[in-house]
Symmetry: C2
Subunit: 150 residues, 2 copies
DNA sequence: TACATTTTGAGAATGATTCTCAATATTTTC
DNA sequence: GAAAATATTGAGAATCATTCTCAAAATGTA
């Protein structure tokens, strides 16, 4: 059994919830992809092999995975929440290219230290952070520069 | 004419858009409040004096104000986008209490320097950032501690 | 295995946001 | 400054992500 499964099983039992086939499928899908996925994408991934799972159940399961500390809703775009698994991963910063939509991830190690310090000054107990930086990726910046020069 | 109005007027004319009564009302409402407001709240604020403005027009105007650099969609909660005016204000960090929902704002000066540096390392052109920290405000932490002890 | 409890799929419902369109306001032209 | 050209508005319909309802099915427990 994978570590993330152990964690989920523990979370479920601690909350008198049951480990079902569908929940396991969703959990696996979530850890199979390393992207930032929305529920509908997940639904289609799962549906490929298991045409019976329902969209509603995926929606219902996401908060459980969040609560269990397995995934996080770290982005919102295209009017949809996007999730990524966080279990076994360090929190990080997202750089969002305003031109092409590319998402670059960079380390958040220093940031976290900084935030723990800053929040403490305000008697605030730090739990987690979400940092999204907008800008232009290298490719887009060069492309736009060329355009301007012409 | 207020500075933010000048900016809006300039933005509009640069884009062959017209300055209308309704747009002015929305702009004023946005700068009257110093909260993080959702569109519906804005609608009710405006409706008090001007029962004729339409919700649709407010929805239509928000992106214009964003584009003009006057406001920013910096939070999402209660399933709604929340905006704040940013013209004339430094960007800042939001501390969100997971228990009571309170939002504390702290300076983002150092963070911005840090981010400009980090993004540069990745050839990414920094434009803006949105940082939300979740945790517990002082009051809630104390209250919860008491609960646990009992 | 039988019971009590939880979960599920399907489809309906909700609610924020966007779109449509005919009527109106604003800017531009002469 | 009036008419022409263009952009905007309010109202309500339409969209679409997300949540809810409920009867049938699955799961954990004794
Ligand atoms: Mn990520
Ligand atoms: Mn703020
Ligand atoms: Zn790009
Ligand atoms: Zn609090």
């Amino acid at each position: 059994m994978k570590d993330y499964e152990k964690r989920f099983v523990r979370y479920l039992s601690e909350n008198s919830l049951k480990l079902t086939r569908t929940r396991r499928l969703i959990l696996d899908a979530v850890f199979k992809t390393h992207d930032h996925v929305d529920v509908d994408t997940l639904y289609n991934m799962i549906k490929a092999d298991h045409s019976d799972v329902s969209l509603a159940t995926i929606y219902r399961t996401m908060p459980l995975l969040v609560e269990a500390g397995l995934i996080k809703q770290s982005l919102r775009y295209q009017s949809k929440d996007h999730y990524e698994h966080v279990f076994g991963h360090r929190n990080h910063i997202h750089l969002l290219c305003e031109n092409c939509g590319k998402i670059i991830e960079i380390s958040g190690r220093h940031l976290e230290e900084f935030l723990k310090n800053e929040t403490q000054k305000h008697s605030f107990e730090f739990i987690d952070y979400t940092l999204n930086v907008t800008g232009l990726c290298h490719k887009c910046r060069k492309a736009l520069n060329r355009k301007i020069k012409r």
